[in-house]
């Protein structure tokens, strides 16, 4: 199947958002998935032609990222977080329960084509563990029972709402939003779930607030000690940065080369 003229036009529109057209490739592949239901050879060809690169290059990118699918997924793609924290909190049990309930394995789709299942990595919602995603919308604080109900509802065509978002749209509609074509549903759902507000709630209860601007009492002891006033310190932290996250804070491991590189940089 070839892509419609409209899709081809939208693929070109994506490239125009960027100073360099190729930056559009990831959103373009999201749009291909929205139009085709997966990454198809035709979609790859179209992207390659528009960007004037080889299909092999496009394909190399498409295979690198887990959200791009070579096989059709369901209308509702269910991801169960089984990264460590969610796994411990029950994600493993939920994943096992869904496999059994749906009669499918990881990366498989039900015969009716409605639900596909995948275990996913940490989805930045650990305070709502165990977490299930449906078409990349949060369904927080799940149990095996609630997850079974969730997929039953999805298969029966009942409206299902994200706990922190709107009524869940289809996977193809979701991919279109990710391609940068908004669906005008930003106003649905809450601002924040209960866990996001946990600290704020405590602060409100106890009347705690950040100090007002211009309040210059008690806490002056730290003044004048800003990092940039201490060159040694600054250089040490600077070197850490170049070594990035894991090596930060362990100056001992830094080699001379990195220090020099940093000085060149500065």
């Amino acid at each position: 199947m070839t892509l419609s003229a409209e899709t081809l036009d939208e693929l070109r529109q994506i490239t125009a958002r960027y100073p360099q057209a190729r930056s559009g490739l990831l959103p373009m592949l999201h749009l291909v998935q929205s139009a085709e239901g997966r990454i198809t050879p035709e979609g790859i060809e179209a992207c390659a032609e528009i960007l004037d690169i080889t299909p092999a290059e496009v394909s190399g990118v498409a295979t690198f990222y887990t959200m791009y699918k070579r096989r059709l997924v369901g209308d509702y793609h269910v991801g169960v977080c089984t990264n460590t924290l969610c796994a411990v909190m029950g994600g493993d049990e939920i994943f096992a329960a869904l496999k059994e309930h749906l009669g499918i394995g990881n990366d498989e789709t039900t015969d009716d084509g409605v639900v596909s299942l995948e275990h996913v990595e940490c989805n930045a919602a650990c305070d709502y563990a165990p977490v299930v995603m449906v078409n990349w919308e949060f369904v927080d604080n799940q149990t095996p029972e609630s997850a079974r109900r969730l997929v039953d509802d999805l298969r029966s065509g009942a409206e299902v709402r994200s706990t922190r978002g709107p009524a869940i749209c289809t996977w193809r509609q979701a991919e279109r939003v990710l391609a940068g074509f908004p669906d005008d549903r930003a106003d649905e759902g809450p601002a924040a779930g209960p866990a996001s507000l946990a600290g704020l709630r405590v602060a409100r209860e106890r009347g705690w607030e950040a100090p007002a601007a211009g309040g210059t009492d008690a806490e002056d002891e730290s003044h004048g000690a800003a990092t940039d006033t201490d060159p040694d310190d600054a250089a040490a932290v600077a070197a850490d940065e170049q070594a990035d996250t894991s090596r930060a804070e362990s100056e001992a491991k830094l080699d001379e080369g990195k220090h020099e590189a940093q000085e060149d940089d500065a």
């Binding site: 959200m67 650990c126 924040a192 950040a210 601007a213 002056d220 600077a238 996250t245 940089d265």
Partner: protein, 447 residues
């Protein structure tokens, strides 16, 4: 006036009616910082962020103002004649880290305002928010916020009549932890496989499109409007001497009220757990990550370590992203370490051998132990493998992969010994750790 334990600034409007909208944000003085900044020279904005002592919230804690200062502005300097770019790292994928996503969901305009201020400071006319793709509603809220900001004249040409122009693009990624690493992120944003780049050259000189680029975490950039509005001194009055300001601490796992807690740097885990209602009923803290799975585990003995960059470093770990994953005594540390290691193996981009091969061998060995079939010398083998990965990997993902393993062996060696003969599922039945295990237990008692 003393400073209270929790100081909501970034989170302060999250409970406001329709907090994600421009109307709600503007009602609280949102975008007022733009006019303050436009009344200053760009270098003065950089200086204010330096004076505030803001350090990167994405993991490494590098001083933000200093990073901005590295951008060559003199046309004769290398890169100085090229366009400058700001890229916000909204890839949030480090296991345990869950602060940027709720921030962008509840108050995307805080980030957009920060982007404008930071871009003005470094003289960029193009900025990008690279957000992980697996958070659809967050993408929607960002898209809407950017659209609203354009319509209100906060983005686009001649912003607020200042003569300053800025375009901002929301760019959704496609699922790859490594794209959070800043140079891999740049390759990904250029439409390539997300693999880390060799440094030097550093992004400050040759980043996006080989042009000077600042890459900052969401929370770093979102902290800027408050600094410009309230002043560097105000910001620096919070926190500790070298770790200034407020940050979001994310508690997850076996605490009664997991969630986001915004406090000045330096609060302890003991205080935070207390604010979160304690460890779940009838259980004890066993181990925790201070800043995601790439930061070495800590235990009960570290409950009183101030959670600032220096103190956590002094305790043998790293503050990282302040992703406090809390595990109680029902949890097998061996199993957790296996799962994290499987994650690193899966996410290894394959570019360098120590990480690609090393994580594979680590998983083989840990899986054996998890099954209670460890072999003589497996613990030494793990330590040896870690030794060969740490410092020899091309990027920090490889280093991070060793953190949970070496720290777990340091504090819980006997559990690894026991895994020579007893499966972790026997020593630590998984059912006892789930979110609903206590409900079941209580129901049993009540019946």
């Amino acid at each position: 006036m003393s400073i209270p334990p929790l100081t909501p600034v970034l989170t302060d409007n999250w409970d406001a009616e329709r907090s994600w909208t421009l109307d709600s944000y503007a009602e609280r003085g949102g975008y007022d910082a733009l006019d303050v900044a436009f009344g200053m020279a760009p270098d003065e904005v950089v200086a204010a962020v330096k004076d505030a002592g803001l350090r990167g919230r994405g993991g490494a804690g590098f001083p933000t103002g200093m990073k901005w200062g590295f951008i060559p502005q003199d046309p004769s300097a290398p890169g100085g004649d090229k366009p400058k770019y700001l890229v916000v790292n909204a890839d949030e994928s480090e296991p345990g880290t869950c602060k940027d996503i709720p921030l962008m969901m509840a108050s995307p305009h805080t980030l957009v305002e920060g982007v404008i201020l930071a871009s003005y400071a470094i003289r960029a006319h193009h900025a990008f928010i690279y957000v992980r793709g697996e958070v659809l509603h967050v993408v929607r809220r960002l898209q809407r916020a950017v659209q609203e900001a354009y319509l209100a004249g906060h983005l686009g040409r001649d912003i607020h009549g200042s003569g300053y122009d800025l375009d901002l693009v929301v760019h959704a990624g496609a699922g790859a932890y490594i794209c959070g690493e800043e140079t891999a992120l740049l390759d990904s944003l250029e439409g390539r496989r997300g693999q880390p780049r060799l440094r030097p050259p550093f992004p400050a000189v040759a980043g996006l499109y080989a042009s000077p680029t600042v890459i900052n975490n969401v929370e770093s950039i979102a902290s800027v409007p408050a600094i410009i509005r309230n002043g560097a001194d105000w910001f620096a009055s919070l926190g500790t001497e070298k770790s200034k300001g407020f940050v979001i601490y994310s508690l997850s796992g076996h605490v009664r009220n997991p969630g986001q807690y915004e406090a000045p740097l330096g609060i302890t885990l003991r205080e935070l757990i207390d604010l979160a209602g304690g460890i779940r009923e009838g259980h004890r803290l066993k181990f925790w990550t201070p800043g995601g799975s790439s930061t070495p585990l800590l235990t009960e003995e570290h409950l009183d370590v101030p959670l600032d960059y220096e103190s956590v470093g002094g305790a043998g770990s790293m503050l990282g992203t302040r992703a406090l994953q809390i595990f109680d005594e029902t949890v097998s540390v061996v199993r957790c370490v296996l799962r994290w290691t499987e994650f690193y193996k899966h996410e290894s981009c394959g570019k360098c051998t120590p990480c690609r091969e090393g994580t594979w061998w680590l998983v083989q060995t840990l899986a054996r132990l998890d099954a209670g079939q460890g072999e003589e010398g497996d613990i030494e083998k793990l330590l040896d493998l870690c030794d060969n990965i740490l410092g020899r990997s091309f990027c920090a993902l490889g280093d991070g992969a060793t953190s949970p393993i070496t720290s777990a062996i340091r504090y819980f060696r006997d559990e690894f010994e026991a895994a020579m003969h007893t499966p972790t599922s026997v020593s630590f039945p998984p059912a006892a750790s789930t979110a609903w295990s206590d409900a079941a237990a209580t129901a049993g008692v009540g019946a």
